[in-house]
Amino acid sequence: MAAKSNLTNMALCLTAVCLVCAAILGAVYSVTKAPIENAAAAEAQASIAKVLPEGGEISGELQAEAEGIDGYYVQADGEGAVVAYAVKTTAGGFGGPLTLMVGVLPDGSVYNTSVLSHSETPGLGAKCTDEKSHFREQWKGFSGELAVSKDGGDVDAITASTITSRAYTKAVAQAVSLVRAIEGGEALDSVSGASVNKEEE
């Protein structure tokens, strides 16, 4: 059975095992690095495409200094005019952060939304991921008051999941106000410099 223990062979054995394992992990990591990045990029691309009108050129990820904004993308048509924005935005949900991709037209109306990650309760708040539900359908072309109807807005909340619905609405509102700031800010840009920090990543 197992070999007798003494300090030399214990140290040797542990070192050897750790070295071999580290080598294996290093190798697997270098092999999977590209596919992992591709998978992440493909997922981002897919979520962006889902919330924007078809066609046009989509920029790389841009950063903005605003509450809950993780980054945004600008979609331009052939002549370089802005068609829409896709904004990655996070708000605190019921079970944890709720991260959305929100497509916003330059006039501040919502084109479409999609859920990137969430930790809401299955069967309740997690219904916000059901794309065919009324809650999700109402966001297409939404331009009303951004608050759930309980709070006096135009958003119909998911039944029994007001906190999730509020978080969803808040995340969308963050995206819309960012777009309004950019749209308003670009005019100001030449005068005083925008409050929005647009650096290429």
Partner: protein
């Protein structure tokens, strides 16, 4: 205020056993008697808090700067195993009476997934205490870990109390032992659902 939210959320709303399903094996294993349950809870409390602080620092100052975050799992489990050994040795020397009380539980803790689970959660997940989603800083992480382990202790001690009573009852043969224990935990978890939404 935020610390208070973290504490309430970690103990009641997201109770580590009843809502997050971590550390179930020792939870079922040593909850036969109230005395062993409280001993185990103390040991877990100690190790979770210590391990979270140490792994947080290792992640922040060693793994992240060198781009080695993919080694998180393996690094954390080794740190925890070493830490448990060290606690055992130190405790033996410094406080033999405490060692007597916790000693037999310490080796079991390495494979308690609550310890590794909390350590990984703290460095990978965003939390939303007090509105905005953010990663925890060291202070919050420590409080979160400590409160989580208190929640573990609470669930454990409550459940041990229930089990001591269950042992005296005449349950159907097929239900004897773990099945009835499992069902009791289920009912306890139902009761804890009542806390959801308060934070």
């Amino acid at each position: 205020m935020e610390y208070l939210l973290i504490i309430i959320s970690a103990i009641f709303v997201n109770n580590i056993v009843l809502a997050q399903f971590l550390g179930i094996c020792p939870f079922l294993g040593v909850s036969n008697k109230l005395s062993t349950a409280s001993g185990m809870s103390l040991a877990v409390c100690f190790v979770i808090t210590l391990a979270t602080v140490v792994t947080y620092l290792i992640n922040q100052y060693l793994l992240v700067p060198f781009g080695l975050t993919f080694l998180q799992t393996i690094a954390f489990i080794l740190v925890i195993a070493a830490l448990v050994q060290m606690v055992e040795i130190v405790l033996k020397k410094v406080s033999p009476s405490l060692y007597q009380a916790l000693g037999i539980f310490l080796p079991l803790i390495t494979t308690n997934c609550a310890v590794l689970g909390v350590a990984i959660n703290v460095v990978t997940k965003q939390f939303t205490f007090g509105g905005e989603a953010h990663m925890l800083n060291l202070g919050e992480a420590t409080v979160y870990a400590f409160a989580t382990s208190l929640g573990y202790g609470l669930a454990m001690v409550l459940f041990a109390g229930i089990r001591e009573h269950l042992a005296l009852n005449d349950v159907p043969k097929a239900f004897k032992g773990l099945p009835i224990a499992m069902i009791s935990v289920g009912i306890m978890a139902l009761a804890f659902l009542g806390f959801s939404g308060i934070v």
